[in-house]
């Protein structure tokens, strides 16, 4: 008896100290989403109360004891129209309100800081533009929109931060993105919410929200040398990309300076925005993404660059504003002995190791 009561006591303490109805609101979007959420809870409660009142009320008023003979009623068009139109109206309000929030969550602002996230069985790897890498953790500053560009190396995962009310699936072979602006410092849960195999429930981590100053300190403290763009530059050179993409008038490939964010016309006549997803596709499946005026001669790098390598290249191309340094690397690679630059581009085995070496060096 004594034992049981102790257990119960602990249980109660736990209950009282930990109880909450919703997670902390730590991002700009969270209060907006909660507003909609509580609006819907309110409507649901009203609806539920009406149904319960109707059912219990009628049950009491018209129980057989009180009301021995039923009165047959066919129905009432007016009443039925009421409970068709009112719910429909409310649902439509929720639809419009919800769609606004949905579009906001999945449309990152232009000035957002981009962090790359790679999901794989069973860990999250975050890559900051400065080259800082984190496993199962993400450090971010408050007061600044942050865009996550997410991809999976194997199966579907889902990057979920309940405290920010955001979530996005990590899809194999494609970038997806989500953005948020943290408002409160602290450590929050990071979950993988899409079932991804044996250790799905271990694919969790911490979102650490720091003040901008602390964030800067953290960045400095965990820098590992080369930034993503620098890494990308190295990869760009070792894969001999500059042999064609050098901005010279006679070059075989289009100049990549300033290409990010511009609108391209492809040979198929389709016009497309050169965003991260496009750049990734153009590296891995170049023949489907040939800019008008060029011929489909670029080899595919599928299976030769790791996702991290692609991310570095994308980040490099994003930040490429002029071709001056490309020219430089071009000159240096031509100075290099023949084999080294090519090796990465041709043989699969050689190609797979080379970008990784590039990563290790940083």
């Amino acid at each position: 008896m004594d034992h049981i009561s102790q257990v119960l006591w602990q249980f109660l303490i736990k209950w009282l100290t930990n109880f909450s109805l919703y997670p902390p609101e730590a991002s700009k979007i969270a209060p907006q989403m909660d507003a909609l959420y509580f609006f819907m809870v309110l409507i649901s409660l009203i609806g539920l109360t009406i149904v319960i009142l109707l059912v219990t009320g009628f049950s009491i008023l018209y129980s057989k004891k009180r009301h021995p003979v039923a009165v047959q009623i066919e129905g009432s068009t007016l009443l039925e129209a009421t409970w068709t139109i009112i719910p429909l109206g409310l649902f439509l309000i929720m639809f419009v309100w919800g769609s606004f929030i949905y579009f906001r969550v999945y449309t990152p602002p232009a000035n957002a800081m981009n962090i790359y996230v790679v999901g794989k069985q069973w860990m999250w790897k975050a890559e900051h533009p400065g080259g800082q890498h984190e496993i199962n953790a993400l450090h971010i500053p408050t007061g600044r929109p942050i865009q996550l560009t997410i991809i999976s190396q194997d199966v579907f995962h889902s990057f979920s931060i309940p405290a920010f009310r955001v979530k996005r699936e990590a899809i194999p072979g494609r970038y997806t993105s989500v953005w948020f602006e943290a408002t409160k410092t602290g450590t929050y849960h990071l979950f993988c919410t899409q079932y991804c195999g044996t250790n799905h429930s271990a694919m969790i981590g911490d979102i650490v929200v720091l003040t901008p100053d602390d964030y800067k300190k953290w960045l400095d403290g965990s820098t590992s040398g080369a930034s993503l763009a620098q890494n990308g530059e190295r990869l760009f050179a070792s894969l001999s990309c500059a042999a064609c993409h050098n901005g010279r008038p006679d070059s075989r490939g289009p100049s990549l300076a300033g290409v990010y964010g511009s609108k391209l016309t492809l040979t198929s006549g389709q016009s497309i925005l050169a965003d991260e997803a496009y750049l990734r596709q153009a590296i891995l499946n170049p023949s489907e993404h040939v800019t008008q005026g060029y011929s489909p001669i670029m080899p595919t790098y599928q299976g030769q660059i790791s996702e991290d390598g692609v991310i570095s290249l994308v980040e490099y191309i994003k930040n490429l504003n002029s071709n001056d340094r490309v020219e430089q690397t071009l000159n240096t690679t031509t100075l290099l002995p023949e084999g080294e630059g090519k090796a990465a581009a041709v043989g699969t085995s050689a190609g797979q190791t080379s970008p990784k070496q590039g990563m290790v060096k940083q």
């Binding site: 449309t107 609108k263 016009s271 497309i272 925005l273 965003d275």
Partner: protein, 121 residues
């Protein structure tokens, strides 16, 4: 509707007597072989036509023509070989429902694929 009911009642009795049932089946519309022959020949001609059309350089119209001819052929088969032209409204409705759901599956799935790039140019 009432007629339908009577028929059903009628049919129940049929179960008991085989010959009656056979007699009932006699009432069905028998499509004369002449029509089958015309339909079969038309289908073969259309096959030749679609092969010939595929060798022409028509750009975007190549698949459109190929699919159009296929639809015409399929419609002919459904109407005549499968007797839908001579069938009840119920059968026609069934065919229509199948087609509708089929198009829903394809159309609404493709709606996702074709609008993925929207808002990104």
């Amino acid at each position: 509707m009432a007629k339908d009911m009577q028929m059903n009642a009628h049919q129940e009795h049929e179960n008991e007597q085989d010959d009656d049932r056979a007699a009932l089946e006699e009432h069905r519309h028998v499509v004369p072989p002449r029509i089958y022959l015309i339909v079969g020949t038309t289908l073969l001609i259309f096959t030749a036509l679609t092969v010939w059309a595929s060798y022409l350089e028509l750009g975007v119209f190549n698949p459109i023509i190929a699919l159009f001819i296929a639809c015409v052929k399929a419609t002919i088969v459904v109407l005549f070989f499968m007797h839908v032209k001579y069938s009840t409204k119920l059968t026609k409705l069934t065919v229509g429902a199948g087609l509708f759901t089929f198009l829903t599956l394809i159309g609404m799935t493709l709606a996702d694929y074709f609008t993925r790039a929207w808002g990104r140019w």
